[in-house]
Amino acid sequence: MVSTESLPYPLRREGRVDQNDVAAAVRRAASGDRAAWDTLVEGFTPYLFAVVSTFRLGPADTAEVVQTAWLRLVEHLDTIHQPEAVGGWLATTARREALRLIRARGREQLIDDVDIVSVPPLDGPSEPEQHAIEADRKRLLRRAFGGLPDNCQVLLHLLAVGILSYAEIATQLDMPIGSIGPTRSRCLDRLRRLVTELGVGA
């Protein structure tokens, strides 16, 4: 009897991703276990979505690329060498597929961040004040985030989604593990400054 309360193969223990659980889920999926596959999809799709979103492909193509990464995993389930590192493998695959799609479409220009061009108007006076302030804050934060350099966006996105360890993030971004902490602080400081600037200019 499979409980609907929790996934049968949790990937996280006490909030942290357990590499052994990830490897076990990959092996079970390879042996045909559908529930194990579902666990992997639930666990890693938010992360993959975050990775692919940084390419600003638009919703349909972003979904397309994420699904292609999952297809690649299905194709390679039997031959994957390091099942515990499947998160990194998926991210690398997704980035490659995003690049392929961009080039296949011959697009040199990426689509502008939709959030920036379609900023909703400030909430009217009928809106409860607290709600309006909160919405405004989120809007500012989103705009400020879009104004960060790409490397900051990618790093903060991965940290915010929180399924990869620092070691895996270091591998993914090809940076020394020791520099993640300092870069994180630097990027967050920059984000704060942008929020302030945008807030003043608004």
Binding site: Q67, L156, L191
Partner: protein, 150 residues
């Protein structure tokens, strides 16, 4: 700024970053059913779009795109060219043999014959999309190419 402030800002950020749409998660789960499909996978082992342009100046976009898919025993080479706005995929199988080829794109199917010299040609839809080819041989065996944006 303190570490707590940083953690708080990161948590705020997590709240505004969009989660994946539920239908994307559902569709990704469904992809598992592809495993049950008969036949051998021909993995994508070369794509000039990705494998040739690293570090190189992308000169002309007119150069045809070359793709290679491989199983342990069969090679599928394909070339994508655009002539008068028509995107045409021409290719051949090695070793050469006749087959039925079914191309699956955007939920639709296009079929053609692979001749006895292993050659095939297909016109693709206007826009690049995820494409798979199912190739069925006379002896009942089949291969399918890895899903690829073509």
């Amino acid at each position: 700024m303190s570490a707590d402030d940083d953690d708080e800002l990161l948590a705020d950020l997590a709240a505004i970053l969009l989660p994946p749409p539920p239908e994307l998660v559902a569709a990704s789960k469904e992809i598992f059913t592809w495993r049950t499909i008969d036949g051998e996978l021909a993995a994508l082992t070369f794509d000039s779009l990705i494998d040739e342009s690293v570090g190189a100046v992308r000169s002309s976009t007119d150069a045809p795109r070359m793709l290679t898919f491989e199983t342990g025993s069969t090679l599928v080479d394909a070339e994508l060219s655009v002539v008068d706005g028509v995107r045409r995929l021409m290719g051949h199988l090695s070793p050469a043999r006749a087959a039925e080829l079914e191309l699956i794109v955007d939920g639709g199917r296009l079929t053609t014959d692979v001749d006895d010299r292993g050659r095939f040609s297909l016109d693709l839809p206007e826009t690049a999309a995820r494409v798979e080819m199912r190739i069925r041989f006379d002896d009942g065996t089949s291969i399918w190419t890895a899903a690829t944006a073509i």
